[in-house]
Structures are given as structure tokens and as C-alpha cells.
């Protein structure tokens, strides 16, 4: 598992292909939002702008999770390794999570810079909310990336598959971020955070268990 993760991350940091594209895409989506909303309006909607930008850019990035293996034919090599298939899922999910987390840090900085969102009173809480949102997103998106990679219409299907299922995460992440950015601490985001944690746990476990079903051939 660690080997797969190490390989993916090494590949990513040597080429910085996904990360740089992801950050530029996030910047562009952010700019589009700012133009569409007016800077003041975008500041009001900062939590929504943050998560919508993240989700659309993130989906494009997660799309590539299994593409390299498919194209290079190393897919069967990966499947033949004598490890639990669930471990492959966890490795891929963690790889996505790390890349997305780095991009999300940049996105948060850009948000503060462009929209003059003030640094929240409890930066730690903002971090925790973001990490929880990212874990759930990575789990669900990685699982469905494995599903859609074989299909012809995968670019179209991945967002279609993932977006409706992400609704609870979007609602809770946006609301929790709103509270934290308004100066609330972690305790004030209680119910939202609980749903986020449940979402993370359910879909990490479901991904780990169901992944095997998607890669049998």
C-alpha cells in the first residue's frame, strides 16, 4: 500500500503535472466566480465559492487516478500484487487526498488574497473542516474514478456519478466553513461536523469494501 502511495506521489512531485494544472484551474474558477459575483458578492459567498471551486477542479484531478495505469497497461500488474484490493483503494485515495490538500491550501490563500476574506479567529478549526471535507470527497471520488475509468463517456460520467452523492458533504462543508470564517470555533459547528465525520467514515469504509467489486476482471 505504501509502495503504491510512494510511487504515485513520487511521480506527481517529479512531474508536478496534476498539481500545477489543478492549482491553475482553481485560480481560473475562482476568478470566474469573482467576475460573476463582483468581489463584494464573492466575499459574502466565500464558503460556497471555496467548495464549488474545489469540487469541480478536484473532480477533474481525481479523474486521472487510474488513467496512468490503464494507459500504460500496468493495471494488471497492480491487480496481481498479492495485497488486499482494499489497500489499493486506500493508497489511491491517500494519494488523491495529499494532492488535493496541497491544492486546497493554495486555494485558501488565493481566497483570502483576492476576496479579502479575513483570517478566521480559529485557523485550526478551518483546517479541520477542510480536512474532513477533503477526506470524504477523496473517498467517494476515488471509488467512482475506479468505476468510470473503463467507460467511454468517463469525463462526463464521473461528475454525474459523484455530484448527487456529494450533496451532504457540500451542505455540511459550506455551512461549517461559513461558521468558522465568521469567527466561530469548532464547537459551534457541532452538527455539521458530525455529519461530515460520518460521511467520511461511511464512504472510506464503503470504498475500501466495494473497490474490489469494481476491479474484478
Amino acid at each position: 500500500m505504501w509502495t503504491i502511495l510512494r510511487k504515485d506521489l513520487l511521480l506527481e512531485f517529479r512531474t508536478r503535472e496534476a498539481l500545477s494544472a489543478l492549482v491553475v484551474l482553481m485560480l481560473l474558477v475562482l476568478l470566474t466566480f469573482t467576475f460573476a459575483f463582483d468581489p463584494a458578492g464573492a466575499r459574502e459567498a466565500a464558503p460556497a465559492v471555496l467548495w464549488v471551486t474545489f469540487i469541480f477542479a478536484g473532480l477533474l484531478s481525481v479523474q486521472r487516478t487510474f488513467l496512468l495505469e490503464r494507459e500504460n497497461g500496468s493495471w494488471y500488474g497492480l491487480l496481481l500484487t498479492p495485497i488486499d484490493r482494499g489497500a489499493i483503494f486506500v493508497a489511491k485515495m491517500l494519494g488523491n487526498l495529499i494532492v488535493l490538500a496541497l491544492a486546497q491550501c493554495v486555494l485558501l490563500l488565493l481566497l483570502m488574497l483576492f476576496l479579502q476574506v479575513p483570517l478566521p479567529a480559529a485557523p485550526g478549526s478551518l483546517l479541520i473542516v477542510n480536512v474532513l471535507g477533503l477526506v470524504g470527497f477523496s473517498a467517494l471520488a476515488t471509488l467512482f474514478a475506479a468505476l468510470s475509468v473503463r467507460l467511454r463517456a468517463r469525463e462526463m460520467l464521473l461528475p454525474l456519478l459523484v455530484l448527487p452523492l456529494l450533496v451532504p458533504l457540500v451542505i455540511c462543508a459550506v455551512e461549517a466553513t461559513r461558521i468558522v470564517l465568521a469567527g466561530g470555533d469548532l464547537a459551534s459547528t457541532g452538527p455539521w461536523l458530525r455529519v461530515l465525520v460520518t460521511f467520511d467514515v461511511i464512504f472510506t469504509v464503503a470504498g475500501w469494501m466495494l473497490f474490489e467489486q469494481l476491479v474484478q476482471e
Binding site: 471509488l143 467511454r152 448527487p164 452523492l165 455529519v195 466495494l210
Partner: protein, 236 residues
């Protein structure tokens, strides 16, 4: 197969007639037997269709989820056919819920649509299973598609409690007719309860019959496909 052959005579010869008769009875109950609601007047009568459609949609989706689980576990194509039938029937009734709801809401709430938790929940559920149908339609020739569909149905159903909790937290005006405390809403006239039960029976029979039809169609479709495959093998 044995379950199917045992069910076949009932499903073929009893269900359609039973469903038609109870549906006629249900229509009589709804339009003639049940009294007008005191506040809402005749508009309330759509309730009997709306609520039963909602229950039928849920039933269809849960059949789909259960059959999907069984398919992943046992791998028998019969379970996949049942899962597909469940989603198709569920989607039909879910669409009817989303159509009858606004028709009722316009005169009663004064708006076609509002972001009430139950409405939000239903529309999200609709999108999840609409994607299921899309997935099946775009990749129907992929040999793995049955397993993909099953994973989607299972993950979709796992998501339902989370969606329910989060949309309830998010917005909280839908009448809870059945579970309302005494004297607040609820069906006051016993004739209304009888009507609800008769319509429920009619809808359950209709759902069962539709599920059967869809299941049989999918099964025969598969069988024809297999025969075609064998035929081309022999010819080649």
C-alpha cells in the same frame, strides 16, 4: 429460477387483475367515498396519490439496493435484473411524486417549489437514480456494468440517511400527515384512513406487477442476447 417459476403463475394471472380492480376501488374511494378536507378542500385528494407514489418510489429503490447487494454477493444475473427493475419502477414513482407535489403545493403553499428537506431529499434521490439509468444506458455493452450499477445503487442508499440529516439541518414546511402528533394535521376522518389504506394496497399491487414486468423483460432481453451470441459462434 425456481422462485421465478413458482411466482410466475400468480404474477401473470392474478397480479394484473388484482391491481386493476383495487385501483378502480381506490379511485372510487379517493373521489367519492373520502370526504373533503376541512381546510384544503378537494385539493387534498391528491395526497392519496402523492404519498403512495413516494412510498412506492422508496420501495423500488430499496428493492434495487437489496438486489444489488445480493448481486455483488452471489453474482447471479437474476439479482441484477431485479435491481434494474427496482430502479426503473422507483424512478417512475419518484417522478410522479415530483409532479404531484408541486400541483398540490401551488394552491396550498402558494408556490410550486420550496427547499423543504423532504423536497430536497426527493430531488437528490431522483438525480442519483437518474444517473444510475444513464450509466446503464451509456455502457450497456460493458460486461462489468452490472457490478458498477450495483455499487452505485448501494452507495446511493448508504447516502440517503446522510442526505436526510443534512437537508434537515439545512432547512426545516412539509406537513407530516402520518406521524403528526394528535390534533395537529393528520387524517381526522376514519374514511380518509380507509381510503389511504385502499390506495396503498392498489399501489403495492401495481408496483409488484410493474416490477414483475420489468424483471421479465430484462430477463428475456438477456436470454435473447445469449442466444444471439451462441448463434454467431455457431455460424462462425
Amino acid at each position: 429460477m425456481t422462485v421465478r417459476t413458482r411466482l410466475a403463475p400468480i404474477a401473470e394471472h392474478v397480479l394484473p387483475y388484482a391491481a386493476t380492480l383495487t385501483m378502480l376501488g381506490a379511485l372510487w374511494c379517493v373521489f367519492i367515498y373520502a370526504p373533503d378536507e376541512r381546510m384544503q378542500g378537494p385539493v387534498q385528494r391528491i395526497f392519496y396519490f402523492h404519498v403512495n407514489c413516494a412510498w412506492s418510489a422508496f420501495l423500488g429503490f430499496f428493492v434495487a439496493a437489496g438486489a444489488s447487494g445480493l448481486f455483488l454477493w452471489r453474482g447471479r444475473p437474476a439479482y441484477d435484473h431485479l435491481a434494474q427493475a427496482g430502479v426503473q419502477v422507483g424512478m417512475l414513482f419518484c417522478t410522479m411524486v415530483l409532479v404531484t407535489g408541486p400541483i398540490w403545493a401551488r394552491p396550498i403553499w402558494g408556490t410550486w417549489w420550496t427547499w423543504d428537506p423532504r423536497l430536497t431529499m426527493t430531488v437528490i434521490l431522483w438525480t442519483i437514480f437518474a444517473v444510475y439509468l444513464l450509466l446503464r444506458a451509456t455502457a450497456h455493452d460493458d460486461p462489468e456494468i452490472a457490478r458498477y450499477g450495483a455499487v452505485l445503487a448501494l452507495v446511493g442508499v448508504l447516502d440517503i440517511p446522510l442526505i436526510m440529516v443534512s437537508v434537515r439541518l439545512w432547512r426545516g414546511m412539509h406537513p407530516s400527515v402520518i406521524s403528526a402528533p394528535e390534533g395537529k394535521g393528520g387524517l381526522e376522518d376514519p374514511r380518509m384512513i380507509t381510503t389511504l389504506l385502499v390506495t396503498l394496497a392498489a399501489f403495492l399491487l401495481l408496483v409488484a406487477w410493474l416490477l414483475w414486468r420489468r424483471y421479465e423483460t430484462l430477463r428475456l432481453h438477456d436470454e435473447i442476447h445469449n442466444i444471439e451470441d451462441r448463434f454467431t459462434e455457431v455460424a462462425a
